[in-house]
Every structure is written in C-alpha cells, then in structure tokens.
Symmetry: C2
C-alpha cells in the first residue's frame, strides 16, 4: 500500500488532503518536529533531504509536493477529475503554471516571512524583501480568485492544493486580512469533506 511519511505540522497534510480527494488507499508514518520546529533525523531514512511529504509506493520513494501530486493523479485519477486539460497544450500549460506557482514563486517569500516572525528586530534586507513580495504574491492570488471559485475556475483541481497551502500560511502569519477572496477561498476549501477527513486522520 502507498505510504505517506507525514511530519506534523506542515506541508504534508496537503498531500493527505489530495489522497482523500482522490479516495486513495494509503497508510501513514507519523513524525513530530523537535523543539526548534525542525523535522526529526528519522525522516532522513525515508528520503535524504529529511523533509515531508515523502511517499513510498512498493519501494519507489518520491519527494516534492508537486511531483507527488502529479504521480497521485497518474495512479488514482483515471477519470481525470482533478488533473490538467489534455487536449490543449496552452490550457495544460496554464494548469501547470498554477501547480508550480505555489511551490516556486509564492513559497520563498512566505518562508522568509515565517523566519522573520522568529526574529526581532527584523533585519531590513529581509523585511523589505518580504513586505514587497508577500503583498505581490497574495495580491496576485487575490486577483486570480476574483470571479473564480477555484484557481482554475469553477472546478476544484490539484493547483488548489498548493494555493490553499499558501493561503493557510498567509493566515497563520497574520497576512490574509487584506485579501477577502483569499479568505473566502481558504474557508471554502477547508470546509471540503476531504480536508475534514485529513484533519481527523492527522489530528489537525
């Protein structure tokens, strides 16, 4: 059975959410962060980077949230309910852009903001960078969600997993308030039965 190495609290609950959306069968190994908030060394036995999510499928080990998501689609979404358009390379590319966006462009500024929350006074180079970039990225998502229920339109799909992760980070960092579309989007996705099941299975 497919196994997820799940580190509490962090990114991998979003992979569990996707597994639940797909109705996939899976099992979990649980890991807890140490006092400094870092992953425990045991995770390095699953994958050399020692991060989570990591999946194992019959000896095959895979890291990177975006790549894991695409693999889970290949494996569990034979009707392509949550995957990219397949008949138009431009529509497919736009879907891939939004899949990668949350892992790439949007993530680094949020990480810097998270590290800033742990230091005082705020170093100006990082504070200035984060102030501009976080507003840019969250404003971009806010605009994208204007008139759209989900990132790709009126249907939930895999790019919503990463975008919800960014929205949740924004909320936890106290940055979501100026973005009503993003707030409503986060609440909408967290009301989904699959998200609720992910919360129940992991303890939140």
């Amino acid at each position: 059975m497919l196994k997820l190495h799940h580190l509490r609290v962090g990114r991998s609950v979003f992979t569990i959410w996707l597994l639940e959306e797909l109705g996939a069968a899976y099992e979990m190994d649980f890991y807890d962060r140490n006092e400094a908030g870092r992953a425990p060394p045991e995770l390095k036995k699953a994958h050399p980077l020692g991060k989570s999510p990591v999946i194992e499928d019959d000896g095959f080990v895979l890291a990177e949230s975006g790549a894991i998501a695409l693999y889970l689609l290949d494996k569990f979404d034979s009707e392509n309910k949550l995957g990219p358009p397949t008949d138009d390379i431009k529509a497919k590319a736009e879907w891939m852009q939004w899949l990668m966006y949350s892992e790439a462009s949007a993530f680094a500024p949020m990480l810097i903001k998270l590290l800033l929350s742990r230091t005082d006074p705020k170093p100006p180079v990082f504070d200035g960078f984060a102030a501009g970039e976080v507003a840019l990225q969250l404003g971009y998502l806010e605009d994208r969600l204007e008139g759209r229920e989900f990132v790709m339109g009126d249907r939930f799909s895999v790019p919503d997993i990463g975008a919800t992760y960014i929205a949740q980070m924004a909320q936890r960092l106290g940055e979501i308030e100026p973005y009503p579309n993003l707030q409503a989007y986060l609440a909408r996705n967290m009301a989904r039965p699959a998200w609720q099941r992910a919360m129940e299975k992991t303890g939140g």
Copy 2:
C-alpha cells in the same frame, strides 16, 4: 513567433538555453534591472508578477520556469529528446521530481543566501537556516551527480536546466567549492553549444 521577456541578469537566460537546446524559433524583449537589482516596472505589462522569464505565444502568456519548460517541450520536442519518460509513471514522477526540485526545495535556501550576501551583520535566524539548508541541498545534488553525467543519468534533459541554475547560484555565492561533482557538472553544461548561443544572444 514565440516571444521571451528576458530580464538581465537572472533566471530567464536558462529558458533561452532551453529554447536553444530545442532549436526553437523565438524572439526576445530585453529588460534591465534597476539600481536596487530589481526588475523594472515595465515587466508588469508582460505579466502581473513582473518577473522573468515570461513567454508570450500568439497572445498566450505563461510564467513559471518549470511550466514554461514543459510547454516548450510540448511545442518543440515532438521526438521527446529532452522530456520525461512516458511509458512508466514512476520514472515519469522521478523526472518531474527533479524538474520541480530546483524551482521549489532548492531555490528558497539559495535566495536567502543571496539576500544574506547583501547584509552585514548576518541575522542569526537567517544565517543559521541558510547554512544548514544550502549544505543539505547542494550535498543532495552532489550525491545525485555521483556517477551520473546529468541529473537523470547519461542524457541531458530538462531537469538539468534548473539544476544548472542552482549550481550557478552556488558558484556566484561562493558556495560551490566543496562539491566537485557539481562544479564539473556546471562546467560541462556551460560548455554546451546551446548554452554558448544563449550567452551570445543575451550578452551573458
């Protein structure tokens, strides 16, 4: 004709490199950074994030290096010389993992290292994070390149574009010296005719 919005100096030269590897026809718009090293506001006319690379293809605008790379494969690599395996979902997933790795896991620590190079004294929260994470990521790439000419084995493919970007950042930040495989890999890729053409067309 496909147009690339190219910001000097930065990530988008790696998209030009891929276009050259593919033998694609394209044109470029050039942008220069301002005194603070940031992209000029004109780039926001191409894409709301105002970053580069951005491509435009017959009115279709696409951002995110990884998504652009996959689109260029769909458009220009009909023989699948540089793309993912298509007959095995695990092999394809591993390829996607390495494509996304350079955009996601590897990038944020390198960005923080870059910002650290612009401030003195180094704020401990960021310095400590970067010290551990940069060594972890570059060591992971170093190990991957042990006995492999390219990230996916003995054949150059698209994940090498992003990995070379990370290697070049490591070199520019003075971090590459402990990693002989990575140094050799960077030199090997920068000796490729397509990279040389990208340098000539952009002025390096």
